[in-house]
């Protein structure tokens, strides 16, 4: 599973970073990014799905590899 954040949609609510700091990062302006190439370790997949469901801007997308 891979995850991406659309920087144009992200408004810096930081819900994803708070839920899965192992996968998401946030810059000084609050915009979220994914760490590395966005590959989600299997043990974190459920929490990343939760982050997707909690993003108020619908800015996070998942893709199966």
């Amino acid at each position: 599973m891979k995850v991406t954040v659309d920087p144009d949609r992200c408004q810096g609510h930081s819900r994803c970073y708070s839920l899965v700091p192992e996968v998401f990062d946030t810059d000084d302006f609050g915009t979220s990014t994914v760490k590395g190439d966005g590959t989600v370790p299997a043990e974190l997949e459920d929490r990343v799905r939760l982050a997707v469901a909690n993003c108020p801007e619908g800015a996070i997308s998942l893709s199966e590899e």
Binding site: Q11, G12, H13, S14, R15, Y17, S18, T26, D27, D28, F29, G30, L50, A53, N54, C55, P56, E57
Partner: protein, 414 residues
């Protein structure tokens, strides 16, 4: 007309605006005591019967209550401007203020002013920066609870919640926390007494005059605070105008005090009246992060406004340029179309796309700070006072309108 007659007519109009509301769909009033006490059932009825309500009290104003409408309007910055964000318009005040030609950026700005002024502010409220404020916040909360923990009773609003955010914000702005009560008074004058134009005006003037003096002082003796930093900032090689710094400093104080204090107070009211949730948080501290989001959803303090920039029909409503839209984020967060059991607090709710901090480009710049303060305030309280309830016969007093939260909250504990 003789002045006395004019005054009487004016008074008559003011009285008229205080008529109790009988039809919420066509004649709502967010300052009506019933709305302040229990807006929830009003929103529930409106969402079904008239999801975008209207009133002509204080000028033509619309009130969307569904999540989909509130968030759609928040994202449509072409039709809905942030040049006026006060829920109650300023009475007879010209919008152009020579001291603050840009208002309070970025909250009262549209792009492009919004974009660069927001970027000035955001780094002060990043996760990293907020982490630096946590130890100070925790020590403050601990000291406050220790002050009354052995007395068996407290006013959880005035004696605790109200005391926290103003001191954290004062530290960020580099202004003395010995003036905390004065700052709190000014912010309440601005936000909580919209029905009293004199009081509101004096609150604004006191705040602005204070910061004018502070800015002058900070130019001479810069510190490591937000105001000093903004005064030294250049954008595209040009120093930021003093009126922008002034507006932004005032904004940080106005937006960072009443709001967070209301969230903390509402959360404590909930825990005082819902012992199961209180015990759960004491026994399972890992639930706290979910609880913070859920309490923010269920008791969202802040309603903002937009002004219609150009005529538009939205959801069948003929909105005219100059009309006001009340951004009822608290109502959106109770929408059963988006939240299961929307009217109940589910203390460990996992899926929670609430918009307590708004939606779109005006997402609350201080949301990381507010979350940290709410979490730490609850943790330090529960650590020392794990059991508490409303005092017998307690008269809880709520403020409402732009910001909703308890102002008097008498609780007792063993």
């Amino acid at each position: 007309m003789r002045p006395a007659a004019a005054a009487a007519e004016c008074l008559g109009e003011r009285m008229a605006t205080k008529q109790p509301v009988t039809d919420w769909a066509t004649d709502f009033d967010v300052l009506d005591p019933n709305y302040v006490a229990d807006p929830f059932s009003i929103w529930d009825d409106l969402r079904i019967g008239c999801p975008v309500a209207h009133t002509d009290r204080r000028g033509s104003t619309w009130l969307p209550t569904r999540y989909a409408d509130v968030t759609a309007i928040a994202h449509d910055i072409e039709h809905f401007s942030s040049l006026e964000v006060a829920v109650i318009p300023f009475d007879g005040e010209p919008p152009e203020d020579p001291v603050l030609p840009y208002g309070l950026p970025p909250i009262s700005a549209d792009p492009p002013l919004h974009t660069w002024t927001r970027r000035l502010l955001l780094p002060w409220f990043s996760h990293r920066k907020v982490g630096e404020y946590e130890a100070m916040t925790r020590a403050l909360c601990a000291r406050l609870v220790d002050g009354f923990a052995s007395t068996g009773k407290a006013d959880a609003a005035a004696g605790y919640a109200q005391q926290i955010p103003v001191r954290v914000i004062a530290a960020i702005l580099g202004v003395p926390d010995t003036l905390a009560d004065t700052f709190t008074g000014w912010v309440r004058d601005v936000l909580e007494f919209a029905d009293d134009p004199e009081r509101r005006r004096s609150g604004v003037e006191n705040l602005i005059n204070y910061f004018i003096a502070e800015l002058a002082q900070r130019r001479q003796h810069p510190g490591d605070d937000l105001i000093s930093a903004l005064l030294q900032t250049e954008v595209d090689g040009v120093p930021v105008e003093e009126s922008v710094v002034l507006g932004t400093a005032a904004l940080v104080l106005i937006a960072g005090v009443d709001t967070t204090w209301s969230a903390i107070g509402s959360a404590l009211w909930h825990l005082a009246t819902h012992p199961d949730d209180r015990r759960r948080l004491v026994d399972e501290p890992e639930v706290m992060d979910f609880a913070v989001e859920e309490l923010l959803r269920a008791y969202s303090p802040v309603t903002m406004a937009r002004v219609v920039a150009k005529d538009v029909e939205y959801a069948g409503c003929p909105m005219k340029a100059g009309d006001r839209i009340l951004m009822a984020f608290p109502a959106a967060n109770r929408d059963p179309a988006v939240f299961e059991n929307a009217d109940q607090v589910v203390i460990d709710r996992a899926v929670n796309r609430h918009v307590a901090f708004g939606s779109g480009i005006h997402r609350c710049a201080g949301s990381n700070l507010a979350r940290m303060e709410l979490r730490v305030a609850l943790e330090e309280w529960l650590k020392r006072i794990p059991e508490f309830r409303l005092a017998e016969g307690a008269e809880v007093a709520w403020a409402g309108g732009q910001v909703r939260g308890p102002r008097i909250l008498p609780v007792v504990f063993p």
